[in-house]
């Protein structure tokens, strides 16, 4: 069996909040790359990464934009780690109606990190490229695909039963064999 079929590529941005200096070069580069034409305008409010910072509490958390949610959470969260309290929702990646973060300021459409998808692909996303401190590190790795789940197996089973009922078992098996040979 082809090993490629059994793996998938996972891209990660590893965030080390202890190393962040709060310079926001990541926001600058992100907004430049995603402007049209590329690099023609800079606007950190359009960046798909933002550094949640508070000089008074020594809080510096780079967060990159995740999925859009239509409604806010029922409850907010505030983390305290090593005695340091982080501001409300500071680790949340969603663009949601309760905050104007990760909402395009002109169109009000949600923004989402696309890992600087590009043809040909970049070595790493721009935010990572400009982070001189290693607070952001890009990683790309192959992971094994998971075996089909019980639910998925159940779906296959009922589908095959329906086909066999309509066309007969032999016709279905013959066709499956043929597909296997072609692949």
């Amino acid at each position: 069996m082809n090993p490629e079929m059994n793996t998938k590529t996972v891209q990660e941005i590893l965030v080390d909040v202890d190393k962040c200096t709060g310079c926001r070069a990541c926001e600058m580069a992100c907004s430049a790359f995603h402007s049209n034409p590329k690099f023609s305008s800079i606007n950190p409010a359009k960046a798909r990464i933002r550094v949640v910072s508070n000089e008074l509490t020594d809080e510096y958390v780079p967060v990159f934009a995740g999925n859009h949610t239509k409604s806010g959470c029922d409850g907010r969260h505030v983390y305290t780690i090593d005695g340091r309290t982080y501001s409300e929702c500071s680790f949340c990646r969603a663009s949601c109606p309760t905050r104007d973060y990760f909402i395009e300021p002109d169109s009000h459409l949600p923004l989402k990190c696309d890992m600087c998808e590009s043809t040909p692909p970049l070595k790493q996303p721009w935010c990572v490229e400009v982070c001189g401190e290693g607070a952001l590190v890009y990683s790309k790795r192959e992971v094994k695909r998971e075996e089909p789940s019980a639910a998925a197996l159940g779906q296959i089973e009922s589908g095959l039963q329906a086909l066999m009922k309509q066309h007969g078992m032999e016709a279905v098996i013959a066709r499956l064999k043929q597909i296997g040979r072609e692949k």
Binding site: A25, N54, E55
Partner: protein
Amino acid sequence: MRYAETGFNLEVDLTRGSCERVATQPDLAEHYLGGQGSAAKLLWDRVPAGTDPFSPDNLLIFSTGLLHGTPLPACNRTVVNTFSPQTNLMSHSLFGGFFGPELKYAGYDKIIIRGKAPDLVYLYINNDKVEIRDATHLRGKGSTETGDLLKTELKDQRVQVAAIGLAGENRVFMATIEHNHASASRGVGVIMGDKRLKAIAVRGTRAVNVARPAELFEMSQRIHQKMAGSSGCGDWMAVDEDDSFHHNHFAWGNARTRRPGYWNKELQDRWTKLKYDNMDRQTGCYNCPKKCRNVIKMPGGPRFGYKCFGKDTYHMAAFLELDFSYEILGVAQEYGVDSYSTPQVIAFALELLEAGILTDKDFPGMPADARGRFFYLLEKIVRREGIGDILADSVSHAARRIGNGAEAFDHNTTKKFEQLPIKLGKLNPAYFLMIATGEKMSITQIEGSFPQDPLPTEEQRQEFVNKWEAVPNEKFKQYFLNWKKRSDISDEATCDIVDWNEAMHYIDDSLGFCGFVSSFRGQFGGDVPYHMNNIPEAIALATGMEMDKPKLWKNFQRIRTLVRAVNVRRGLRRKDERPPEDHWAVRDEKYEQELLSKYYAFKGWNSDGIPTRQTLEELGLAYVADDLEKSGILEPAVEGSR
């Protein structure tokens, strides 16, 4: 559409309570760039010569640099200009952080503030929405505390705030404008307080456009990488714990006592431990890979940030150790006072007490120890209580108000401004000219491109010049190669060197670049990422203007000369251009005055330090010449009078 700049200023009149978004002249940047350059033009055009700094007609101008908001790294220094009650001349101040770029993203190149509010207000700028709001609930609040309160009040953590503390509210001359852990000193906080403006909160979500995107971004990334990996830029004091340079060579107390041999290994180890035991992290300014600011949190004290020599000034003035600076810096930051001049003012007062010019009656309830005394006087000054009300007017004015021989203790000011506490042996010609003629008031804002000292061997000098990219002209390499003894250098070279040093500061302060990656840093190692040979390209790519080295140099000369004219119109003359008399032990009045005359001639100024008509006309400043002639400051033109 304009590139790099927004093309709009925000005009605020606090007396009338009006805010207006006003388009700027399209060709202004070509002649005056932005930042201090275009601010000097505004001060010249709009503030009549006789205007008292405390008059509502005085302007307080917050400027972005021309290149703020572009991808160019370390371009974030906000420029503040006004007229100072301390010097009665143009105040020039800068602060790092995020304020300037945010202002540009809000759609403005400058905030121009005139008038005075009836009571404490703050200015809230959210793109097009601009409001003057009541700030009486912020009265007496600390500067960074104010920033935090406003972020909560405005429900926006992304707002950037510049605020004054108690010192500014009470019109203390040494008051600063604070932004996060950055600070604008040299006479601007006092005017913000006088205008009853507690803070400016700005939020911007607009784009800054650039003319040649791909090329500029490529250039920016090249410079970004060079900066990140280079020890030739940034503040080396953030990483090098050997601070023998300042402690052994600078003067302690009221700029009096040198303590050669003070530094030792045991001290260094102990102070290094104190720093790293109490340091949260080192932080950077907007879009800069360097991390110059040390953020310290002492048990029970406020969190504060410092950089460079700000680490040393308090404990050196008090003859104490680093732990004292760490104790007082956080308090001083919240009050909003300048860490360069304030310790000198306090040390000056204690000297007067020791000399019997002031007595115990002037200091009721003052503790006996140095630590307690500094805190006591800081409180008196920021509240303008008792003797503090006099001291709050800075050393020079306080000495005159106290009288009775106190004037003799005002020994370290030039143009009435406290200078760095440096007392040396033999005259250094370049430093004589820089301190004498500088109008940015502190030597750190004037020196910086040509090395402070020669290298000992020919091989070292050759090696240095071989990789010296920053020189605007090959002649500087020759000057350096032939330079063997510090004071042994031709007058011609001295004039050129001082001019180049000044040029880089005037350019940085108009574009928004930080001195640590440009104008200030070349003197230590020569390897700076921004210099005369690449800045013109950066301007051209960002703004779309045609720019080359000669044109940029002329821009420097135009801005420099205009600043001189602004101050000349307010009375600045040759007699004021004197470094502290004890700056060097060995002086030569005749030689110094000859050198000064040569430098004036080199600059195209007359023997009293006033730019001649010919010079002004060559720089496109004929309107300045007309005004100076009309007011009798310049003699009407005679052919060939230069």
